[in-house]
Symmetry: C2
């Protein structure tokens, strides 16, 4: 372990330097549009057809020639119906009207639509009460989008309105960015899965649940999640599976200076950098690359794990997954806060409008307290106290 603690920013650079190359070329997958909601579009989609694809009526009413409506009221024979259904284009005979429904193709010869409320229906005739100019209530071809026009741009995270536009242009499936594949390994012989009975000295595994959910929130797919004990051989086996299956492996626990530190024991001989980070919570962390796959190792304290993932991994995964960055905000502290020398603190906070208050203490075992927070308050290394009313940077959870 190096004598000097590494700063949060230095460690973030180190993690990015091994994770970004592994996530940069994730490729794409092709999905039916109904399954593509929430995914970032991988390529511009252009329309093979103009929208609308044919000239059509904007209102229910009568297709007409504007020049025949100059003297009002005018009563004309109705030559039939141009319904909003599959039909060949049908000409409008001179001196006639054609009944037409919204969206129906405008018959050849017609140049306007008279809304039904501006007419009076007779016996085989209709009387037009208001004049219309050519083009009135007519949707022209391509008035929404020309043939070849951009329907949705690459990078757009697909919401309902984008999927609707894709559907309208006849696009049945799209290429979206592949999700980063993440493996989650949590360690500790004293750690047991929730739902089992707890023996004295045991605790429930919350880190596996937390890291898997955090990875999914950041747009990743969790391809492997395992809880392993303090046996280095067992850990090495699961790690090999993880490296084979994932673009990124995240571990928690087994990384400090204790005597049963399985992650350190397995990874240090494989060239891992084990470093004390000048952050609280956070402490000892490690990074390694095995077979080109980045391994990022967090301490096993639940709050340390969640905070470290949020600070170091979330931005990288979200960028790779094509999701918007979660930007820090500036809020006003409600009450005085002390910090520790030489460590950047991430205090758990609750934001209320423009202000934020600290919830719980700094200790990294306060996992239910963490659940009541909605932001992390970023207290820089050199800051030892902050007063009520001070502006602080917070990272939304």
């Amino acid at each position: 372990m190096p004598a000097r603690r590494r700063s949060v920013d230095e460690h973030a650079v180190r993690i990015a330097s091994i994770v970004e190359p592994a996530l940069v070329a994730l490729g794409t997958e092709r999905l039916p549009i109904a399954q593509a909601a929430g995914r970032p579009l991988a390529e511009d989609v252009h329309s093979a057809i103009p929208l609308p694809p044919f000239r059509n009526a904007q209102m229910d009413g009568y297709a007409a020639r504007a020049e025949e409506l100059t003297t009002l009221p005018v009563t004309l024979p109705v030559a039939g119906v141009a319904p909003a259904e599959r039909s060949a284009p049908r000409g409008l005979p001179a001196g006639h009207l054609l009944r037409i429904m919204t969206g129906a193709p405008l018959p050849d010869g017609a140049d306007c639509v008279v809304p039904v409320e501006d007419t009076r229906t007779g016996d085989g005739t209709a009387t037009v009460l208001a004049s219309r100019a050519a083009g009135d209530f007519v949707r022209i071809v391509g008035s929404d989008l020309d043939r070849g026009g951009l329907v949705v741009a690459a990078g757009t995270v697909l919401a309902a309105r984008h999927l609707a536009a894709l559907a309208a242009s006849g696009t049945a499936d799209v290429a979206v960015r592949a999700r980063p594949r993440v493996a989650i390994l949590t360690t500790g012989a004293e750690v047991v899965a929730p739902g089992r009975h707890l023996q004295f000295g045991e605790i429930y595994d919350s880190n596996g649940t937390a890291l898997a959910a955090l990875a999914r929130e950041a747009g990743a797919e969790v391809v492997l999640q395992a809880l392993v004990d303090d046996d280095p051989g067992a850990f090495a086996d699961v790690l090999a599976d993880a490296v084979a299956a994932a673009d990124l492996v995240v571990t928690s626990g087994g990384i400090s200076q204790g005597d049963y530190e399985v992650v350190r024991q397995v990874l240090e001989p494989a060239g891992a950098e084990v470093t004390e980070i000048a952050m609280q919570p956070g402490g000892p962390q490690a990074t390694a690359v095995l077979s080109g796959v980045p391994i990022v190792c967090f301490p096993g304290n639940p709050v340390s794990t969640q905070v470290s993932f949020t600070v170091f991994i979330r931005p990288l995964l979200r960028r790779a997954a094509g999701l918007a960055t979660i930007e820090p905000r500036l809020l006003t502290l409600e009450a005085h806060v002390r910090s520790v020398p030489g460590k950047r603190q991430w205090l758990r906070g609750q934001a209320r409008g423009d202000t934020v208050r600290v919830v719980g203490g700094a200790s990294s075992h306060l996992v239910t307290t963490m659940a009541r927070a909605d932001v992390l308050i970023d207290v820089p290394e050199q800051v030892l106290q902050l007063a009520a009313g001070d502006r602080v940077t917070v990272l939304p959870l």
Copy 2:
């Protein structure tokens, strides 16, 4: 059809009056916590155990008696190791230290932990260099949460940190609110599914895609989605399936004054209210209740369908699904806007910081233009124009 147009607010009340009773008693479903992300918790979860469940070390170091560390430095024999693993509680013999790892149960007799960096290791001994008070670096039972304490409150939309807290308390599965079940019926003989070849007069169905995606975004499950033509018998059959399967049925198209209006033809004899709404886009709409299931019918123009769902259905579904309301915002118009008399307009807008500009025209066929919008600009019925710089209410999409 009534002579008077119904206002948007009046229609919203009517829709709420039939939809809310159907969604009020949705019940719950029980899920493993790994599948509960994003779902609202249906009941308070209390912890069956205190957290932490046993007194344990906050640091790697030595378990000690504070009263034996008053004269410094002091060298004491190390009686063994209290590892962070399954082990019976082990007493600390008087005049000794016990090596201890973070998280390990504190042995009986010990009352503090001396961090390893404040010690020097000898041969079977350790020298303590800094004094400690009783309680230092000891996490006491229940310091995060007492037995029976509230882990996560009912109504919380479960994120990673909540799932982690549930896991830490040993909660393997939770009751979440059931999703509202929605059926989507789109109509029109001229409407074909995306991916097929378009004949003259045909358009692609975007409303099915839009409504299904909008329903899912609002927290609903889409249990049936069908595209039906202008045949009343076929529509009635699908509608019966929809009513049997869903808590809410939403239709698009077939509701105006044309001659092939299948939704109106089937539902009006069944007691539907068909009403002209004083909104643009929006127009003719209908509501009905069949076998206790609310049916809400929107016009078939794609923008009308999306806007109507967003204005009328989204808030009801989100509330039933336990998701946060999407609140209107006040933004400043970038440029002058005209509206129409007697109709509340929902213009498509793009928000940029504190300002908003209109995209595209008011016509309700502009489905790709809709995809470029991120807000709806709410122009009240009585307002005929707005100037650049005016504050307007917008509804985020």
